[in-house]
């Protein structure tokens, strides 16, 4: 229990002192994860809605692939994109490796299937009169889809939160593509991994507690927004 207490008090210390380095690490985490989840939502929500509504040959296969992509380990995405972005890779010239942008790309790839799949479930569960009602009132298919999105907003919000949870907590992509460079691409999770590898378990856990506190604050804020 000693260990937990040490971590907890270290975490409280970190939070109350608002150490410059911790602040910058938190900032990088939030910047990459929020950007990634924004992109993933823009891609994943419409994809999920379309998959929920459209019938086409091969749909079942696409759904199975989507389920499979949800299991994609973040280190595998890291490896794949590393292959693309590395100097030798086809996109090496863009000089993206070991930059926050590379992390954002990787995290977007990671979150999109999750957001899409979750959205798909929400749409499957939604009342199927929503679309027809919108159409009988003169909406086109895009407008009807938009209305569907509004009607299922809590579910869609949950989908986005799920995706955010995945990227803010992941370490593989951030490590492989960001490189854990201090002050530049070091995120909370790569910092935790670093402390852990240094044997500073209590401090690693303290950082974990800080991360959870931040996520909790974000969720409280979203909760307030939802129930305004």
């Amino acid at each position: 229990m000693d260990y937990l207490l040490t971590s907890l008090s270290a975490a409280i210390g970190l939070i109350t002192q608002l150490n410059q380095e911790v602040l910058s690490t938190v900032g990088i985490s939030l910047y990459t994860s929020l950007t990634a989840i924004l992109l993933a939502s823009v891609l994943g929500v419409p994809a999920g809605i379309a998959l929920g509504l459209k019938q086409f040959t091969g749909r079942r296969l696409v759904l199975t692939l989507l389920n499979t992509l949800m299991s994609l380990p973040s280190v595998v995405i890291g490896l794949l994109l590393f292959g693309m972005l590395s100097r030798q890779g086809p996109l090496g010239g863009w000089e993206l490796l070991y930059t926050p942008l590379a992390m954002i790309i990787g995290q977007t790839v990671l979150a999109t299937p999750i957001v899409a799949n979750y959205t798909l479930s929400v749409i499957n569960g939604a009342d199927n009169r929503i679309m027809s009602t919108a159409m009988t009132l003169g909406a086109g298919s895009l407008q009807s889809g938009w209305q569907l999105l509004k009607e299922t907003r809590f579910g869609i919000m949950a989908a986005v939160i799920a995706g955010f949870g995945r990227v803010i907590g992941e370490v593989g992509v951030a490590m492989m593509l960001g490189g854990n460079i201090r002050g530049f691409t070091r995120t909370m999770t790569t910092a935790i991994a670093l402390e852990t590898s240094k044997g500073e378990f209590a401090f690693g856990l303290a950082l974990g507690i800080v991360l959870m506190t931040i996520v909790l604050l974000i969720n409280l804020f979203l909760n307030l927004l939802q129930h305004r």
Partner: protein
């Protein structure tokens, strides 16, 4: 005058061997039609077809002069002239006023005009003052009446009503029946389904009677008209086998 709708050799299957099969049907402008027949006869299916929510498997539908065939933007334009109130109406999870505003906004009707139309429509169904009520906190009959108001506010060319007088109280029944007789006089075409077999006569409606997916020949004497020759030539752009869940003709 051209018929509003003209259907030829329409075939549309659903689960369980049910087939809507309409050799010919013409719907004249400004007329009130009642649609009757036993449960499962295909009334709701026909109304869905006319609302252009479902694609037939074969046959031709003309809306006025236009062969309804279907790119999205075309369909949307046609659909804006037709409004259907479904058998179990769905209200959006919002206030009553915003439910009615939805279709008005799509038609670019705004501000004062929109508010007037909303309150007018609510008055029309005896629900004056219901604007701020939440749709999810209404009783069954109130839901149906709000759905009707939502359709009325749009002043469509064709109004399709699936059992509009079910679930509503005595006073509202009178109001709705009065609307059903008066609106066609202003040029609106209305088709409503009902199980009250006295209602068509009471309202002076033309009767379309269905059974087993077909029109009962005797009840609806369709006079031979144009388009007939082309009917055989129509082929639908996409394959016929559409799963039931892809019901929406997007």
């Amino acid at each position: 005058m051209k018929p509003v709708f003209s259907l030829q050799n329409i075939q549309l299957g659903r689960g369980n061997n049910f087939n809507l099969w309409i050799e010919r049907l013409e719907v004249r402008d400004g007329v009130l039609y009642s649609l009757t027949g036993p449960n499962g006869a295909g009334k709701s299916t026909l109304l869905w077809l006319l609302a252009m929510l479902r694609r037939p498997e074969s046959g031709a539908i003309y809306f006025g002069d236009t062969l309804v065939h279907g790119t999205r933007s075309e369909l949307k334009k046609l659909r804006q002239q037709i409004t259907l109130v479904e058998q179990a109406p769905y209200l959006f999870d919002d206030t009553v006023a915003r439910n009615i505003a939805f279709g008005l906004r799509l038609r670019g009707i705004q501000g004062e005009e929109r508010n007037n139309r909303i309150s007018q429509a609510l008055e029309d169904v005896g629900l004056g003052g219901f604007e701020k009520r939440k749709a999810r906190e209404l009783s069954g009959g109130e839901v149906r009446r709000v759905a009707l108001a939502r359709a009325l506010a749009l002043r469509p060319k064709v109004l399709l009503l699936d059992e509009p007088t079910a679930n509503i109280d005595e006073a509202s029944l009178q109001i709705v029946e009065a609307l059903l007789t008066s609106l066609p006089q202003q040029g609106m075409t209305i088709i409503f389904s009902t199980h009250d077999l006295d209602q068509p006569e009471r309202l002076g409606a033309e009767v379309i009677r269905m059974r087993d997916g077909k029109l009962e020949a005797a009840t609806y004497p369709a006079s031979p008209r144009q388009h007939v020759a082309t009917a055989e030539k129509i082929t639908w752009p996409r394959p016929l086998k559409i799963s039931e869940s892809s019901y929406l003709w997007l």
